[in-house]
């Protein structure tokens, strides 16, 4: 009875890969979870949903939305049904991301030094120099161990045949990892014993690996260097995450005003005077980091920090200028980069991408607007996006005018349908579209990826937009060990 109640509305959209169902049968990896859910009554499931919401609220895992001068605390909606990734799927993803990051790091080093890839004509110079995130200040700038991307969040989606595609690389200050960690803690509370029974790999190692990597970057070779997480402050929507990471690593959470640069060294201001800082994991954007060099009006950064960084007196994580590598127009060249730097074929595919700065591609896009998603090259979080299939004629017309003003700022991609995954809603499981953002950590000893990630889900039926700013939610993400 309950069985059919829970699953009888589960209608997978045609032409969509479903994470749970295959030919109307539950996939092996989901069987145990589905069985478990079916033992529970609707009341019990509702109670679990309520418990999850309560846990988020009490723990202050919220982001603040400001309207009419007043802050409203919202929780990032959480769906109680985990998204499950098999061991073999994971090892493929893991290899693919490692390969991609290796190439992206080499690209950043190259583009800020010798620029072989430009000289060899693989990427046009214009593409680089027109990118607003290409920081001339980083040219020939010594970066410890030649690592630019220490922390990356790589967004993956699944096409109708189930193959993984890279949607975008986030190489500046990717956020969301605290949700990966907290979602897992919530699952432990909601479903006792379910995790060990299913051989789910742990994500707990993330803060330890990050901390180990940060320690290894310390300019002072001492056992206990001073590491700080630099946050823009409590009004930042990811503030909760900054706190969580600082707490989990046992390091200080600082704001720009806590730091001062003197004699090319960074200090934090403590009740006992100044204390030298060795490593800064900053969650402040490039442009705001040093008001002396970048945005002079910034009150979030620390004047002179670039000088301390250049002299090697402090390590900054991630490096500055990474935006040139996750620019949506540069994205199209990543497969070529992998080939160029590593002489390998890319394991994970790119979504075909059209450059609107190229006249012939622009024509193609303009005559197929309803099949395209158009994005701004230097924006993230789902801002400034046009979904061609759901846009009105007027929206399309206006957007075209925008594009014509500055075509370099736009790219277009065919709409990829995204896989669906079961969500619990009003006593039923329903399919909703998901993506996946695993977090990769690069240290002197290579790339490590914690088995898991943030699964973002579009909670509206049929919606393909998963960003939290656009009404998305999240799920715990299980990677199975067998």
């Amino acid at each position: 009875m309950q069985t059919s109640e829970l699953l009888n509305n589960y209608d997978v959209d045609a032409g969509t890969w479903d994470e749970m169902y295959k030919d109307s049968a539950v996939r092996e990896q989901y069987r145990a979870v589905v069985d478990f859910m079916q033992q529970l009554s609707v009341e019990e499931l509702n109670k679990k949903e309520e418990l999850a919401r309560g846990l988020f609220m009490t723990q202050g895992i919220t982001f603040t939305v400001y309207s009419s001068g007043e802050g409203i605390e919202k929780i990032f909606p959480f769906d109680i049904i985990p998204r499950i990734i098999t061991a073999s799927e994971w090892s493929y993803i893991e290899e693919g991301i490692k390969q991609r990051l290796k190439a992206l790091n080499l690209f950043l080093k190259d583009v800020y030094n010798e620029q072989f890839i430009i000289k060899d004509g693989v990427i046009p110079a214009e593409m680089i120099y027109s990118c607003p995130h290409y920081l001339r200040e980083m040219y020939k700038f010594p970066v410890p161990y030649d690592i630019y991307v220490h922390i990356a969040g790589i967004d993956l989606i699944r096409n109708s045949d189930g193959s993984f595609y890279i949607l975008e690389d986030n190489l500046r200050t990717p956020s969301g990892v605290s949700y990966m960690l907290e979602n897992r803690e919530i699952t432990k509370r909601l479903f006792p014993d379910l995790l060990p029974k299913n051989n789910v790999r742990t994500v707990n190692e993330y803060p330890n690996i990050l901390h180990k990597n940060l320690v290894s970057l310390s300019p002072r070779q001492i056992a206990n260097p001073t590491i700080v997480v630099l946050t823009p402050g409590i009004y930042n929507s990811a503030y909760f995450e900054h706190t969580t990471l600082a707490r989990m690593m046992g390091v200080e959470l600082v704001e720009g005003r806590d730091l001062v640069v003197d004699n090319h060294r960074v200090y934090m201001k403590t009740t006992a005077g100044r204390q030298l800082v060795d490593v800064i994991y900053r969650r402040v954007d490039d442009d705001f980091l040093d008001p002396l060099i970048f945005n002079p009006n910034s009150m979030l950064g620390v004047a002179g920090i670039m000088s301390a960084y250049r002299k090697g007196n402090v390590a900054v994580v991630n490096a500055l200028g990474n935006g040139v590598a996750d620019d949506k127009a540069i994205y199209a060249y990543v497969p070529a980069m992998i080939k160029y730097y590593l002489n390998e074929d890319p394991l994970l595919r790119n979504v075909p991408t059209y450059q609107l700065s190229k006249p012939e591609e622009k024509e193609l896009v303009f005559s197929n607007m309803n099949k395209m998603v158009i994005k701004k090259t230097n924006e993230s979080g789902g801002y400034g996006m046009l979904m061609g299939h759901s846009a009105s004629d007027e929206e399309i017309y206006n957007y075209k005018q925008e594009i014509l003003k500055n075509p370099r700022q736009f790219i277009a991609q065919p709409i990829i349908s995204l896989s669906s995954s079961p969500c619990y809603m009003n006593g039923k499981l329903v399919p909703r579209r998901v993506d996946l953002r695993p977090y990769a950590l690069c240290g002197p000893n290579g790339v490590e990826i914690v088995p898991g990630g943030l699964t973002r889900v579009a909670l509206k039926k049929g919606s393909l937009v998963v960003n939290s700013s656009q009404g998305g939610g999240s799920k715990d993400t299980w990677v199975l060990s067998v």
Binding site: A238, H264, S307, G381
Partner: protein, 326 residues
């Protein structure tokens, strides 16, 4: 090339920048571009740099090859004085022969326009009057000449049509404002010429430095000067000084080149503290060319400063905190 050695002058440049604060300020961080470029046209014989508080100055090369000094002063202070005494020997240039046919030269410019470093020096700044400026440039039919002559023509256009007038503009003045005022100082003249050269695809870069005339009478003395370098095909970068309507040759000393004033600002800094400041700048040049030598006192002249009280704007602080998330 060096036939008239006796005419190669040595300039002794004394440059003082002084900030004074009403109340003590702290945590200042500063950047200076006060180190003359060293190349075949310019040698630096000697340079003494002294800064109040005697901070350690770190010197590095930026993207455009300029030497940049950076230093801090974290402790409370009432004054910041930056003093340089520099001896520079300039070499008289061999000017472009300009004997390659115009169309081949324009063709060459077309070829390099997607190449490094020219991309950076061709990117046009957007402002409201850009179309109007382009039309004027078109009407001058500069493209019918060689790029060298075109650059000369535009240089003269700015000189003739704009009034040299100190104190009506500042580093904050926009292109639209300058265009409306039809007046300004060297910086504004240079800014305009940059834009005009770019409208006909001649790569152009901003230059900051000193002007060192043998006798008084040129505009831009007593402070840092600014002009433009245009890229002349099959020759290289050549300086045009729209404030003085001349091609740069021997009496200009270059400190820095870049896309705009922002890349070349001789002195810039930030500090913390609820205090307004005053800024005085003085530049004096003595020269020796084997025949004459002169010593001049360095007069400090008050400069306009922009009022920027950031700490009180909590809205902006909040907006910054909200920065976009990845």
């Amino acid at each position: 090339m060096f036939t008239k050695l006796s005419l190669v002058p040595t300039f002794k440049i004394h440059h003082v920048t002084r900030y004074q604060y009403e109340f003590p300020v702290r945590e200042s961080a500063n950047q200076i571009l006060l180190f003359p470029i060293r190349d075949e046209y310019q040698q630096v014989a000697k340079q003494e740099l002294s800064i109040s508080g005697e901070p350690m100055v770190d010197i590095y090369k930026d993207f455009y090859g300029n030497e940049v000094g950076s230093f801090m002063n974290a402790e409370p202070h009432l004054e910041l004085v930056i003093d340089t005494k520099t001896e520079v020997i300039t070499t008289v240039r061999v000017l472009p022969s300009d004997d390659v046919p115009a169309e081949i030269q324009w063709e060459e410019l077309k070829r390099v326009h997607t190449q490094f470093p020219f991309i950076d020096f061709l990117k046009q700044e957007q402002f409201n009057a850009l179309d109007e400026v382009s039309e004027i440039v078109q009407s001058l039919e500069s493209r019918l000449h060689t790029p060298l002559l075109a650059a000369k023509q535009l240089n003269e256009y700015v000189f003739r049509n704009f009034t040299y007038n100190k104190g009506i503009t500042s580093v904050e003045t926009t292109l639209d404002e300058i265009w409306k005022l039809k007046a300004g100082v060297c910086q504004d003249f240079a800014h305009l010429l940059l834009v005009m050269l770019k409208t006909i695809d001649i790569p152009a870069r901003y230059v900051s430095g000193y002007i060192c005339p043998h006798k008084n009478g040129m505009r831009g003395e007593g402070a840092t000067h600014a002009w433009v370098e245009a890229y002349i095909p099959f020759y290289g970068w050549l300086g045009f000084d729209p404030t003085n309507n001349c091609i740069v040759d021997g009496v200009h000393v270059r400190l820095a080149v870049g896309r705009s004033f922002n890349d070349c600002s001789p002195v810039k800094g930030t500090y913390k503290g609820a205090s307004s400041h005053t800024l005085d700048v003085g530049v004096s040049v003595a020269y020796e060319d084997g025949e004459t030598s002169a010593e001049a006192p360095t007069l400090l002249v008050p400069q306009p400063v922009k009022v920027n009280n950031l700490s009180s704007n909590s809205y902006r602080r909040y907006m910054e905190m909200m920065q976009q998330q990845q």
